[in-house]
Symmetry: C2
Subunit: 289 residues, 2 copies
Amino acid sequence: MKLDNQLKILIVGLGLMGGSYAQGLSRRGFHVKAIDTNPDSISFAEENGYIEKGFCEIDENAVGEADIIVFALYPHVFVKWIEDNQHLFKPGAVLTDVTGVKECVVYKIQEMLRPDVEFIAAHPMAGREVYGVKNADESIFRDANYIIVPTDRNTVNAIEVCKAIGQTLEFNRISSLPPRAHDEMIGFVSQLTHCIAICLMTCSKSEHLVDYTGDSFRDLTRIARINEDMWSELFELNKTALLAQMDKFRAEFNEFYRILESDDIEAMKEKMRQSTARRALFDKKKEDE
Amino acid sequence: MKLDNQLKILIVGLGLMGGSYAQGLSRRGFHVKAIDTNPDSISFAEENGYIEKGFCEIDENAVGEADIIVFALYPHVFVKWIEDNQHLFKPGAVLTDVTGVKECVVYKIQEMLRPDVEFIAAHPMAGREVYGVKNADESIFRDANYIIVPTDRNTVNAIEVCKAIGQTLEFNRISSLPPRAHDEMIGFVSQLTHCIAICLMTCSKSEHLVDYTGDSFRDLTRIARINEDMWSELFELNKTALLAQMDKFRAEFNEFYRILESDDIEAMKEKMRQSTARRALFDKKKEDE
């Protein structure tokens, strides 16, 4: 299968991410339909040309004709949806997703899936602090990473289709990671940072501090506005990897505490030099792009 | 004393902050001189019109004629400088500073200071990841907080002069806090966040993660590029307050860890709701401005 305008694409779940996929794909001339339980989301997407047609219930024709199905659902709903409806899939269809954790869903789905359809996992590392299809904005992909998460069961064909979706939506960087490595990475760069931001907001009655917060505090807590249903589920599903990253961070934080407590100024400076050098590398990478 | 263009202002220490003060005050027609041990900093500031004249050594005339002296030195150098040179001050002079910690310097200076001059502490909460007078940029004040840190010894007159400097440099918000409250606040909103950013960079061999970092990780580590000489000194000088804030944060982080480990999803959601509500308050405040 080659990704071209003739293919029929179905988006299941029209939230911020599903909506942004629909918007981006429709703008580029693809035939996009969608399923979402919320009639307002469907009519909004239809009225704004994000989709040709949408359905609030599972439409057998729409599912049965789709060459590509993108699942943009909460993880537990997602696995159940496939279990219940996989008899409707078109033979040869390629399924993909936008789920933020992988190990717990990818193998389960590939295990139970009909042999004549293929699931290839993807993680678009994009988001906003707001949600819902009304906030859909495909420009969030332009600066973002798109990670393909294949297993041994995936074919080159499906991986290429998945990659082509990322290219079509103009993600900044497209790469590939196995499920476990993906989840470890996400545990560190995304989930751990969200835990820290939350704890910074909850550890102190900070209302009276609003007047004094500078850029640094605002930077570290921007992501503390969080959709609790989605993120608690993502944290739970990636619990092992996230706890391991939290362990690493708190060991380092405790070490820094000990250094300060014992006035070991040379050790403190060394930590600062190391963090400065590593962070400078990030900025360099960014400038090189 | 009223702050007007006829007053002679001396800046001691022409780094990023002293340089930005000099730049901002000169642009508004004040007579500004400066002392800095580095001849390059002096000639740069002279050539760019940040100061009328500068000195690499302590110039008795420049010190003796100054109505206002702004100290922009590292804390330990600052206290020593006053001890060694206070016989040169003009009677009635007002001294102020830009130091990031207060309790450990303010009382010491006010205790030893000649009775005919007055020290009123100030903390401009502005900065950049770069330093030195060559990076001076008075526009960093426009978005920043300026905190006056008076004690019982300070007169209304000196507090007004200090406030007028903040107004002249067009700080976004000017407020007042006693030394201890200032240091506690700084321990939380600035120093704790820097500790966290440092530990995020040093807790993991993150070089290979550069490819995957999204906005959240970049936000939380922007301030991990840090001047180790200045910050290790500020941390040490505010050790008690900072350790107390670190204790609070790590207790909360450990609690979050426990919640995740025990799958207490309702408690996790409650933390997320709390952090979301508090952070929303910050954004609201910002929008109201």
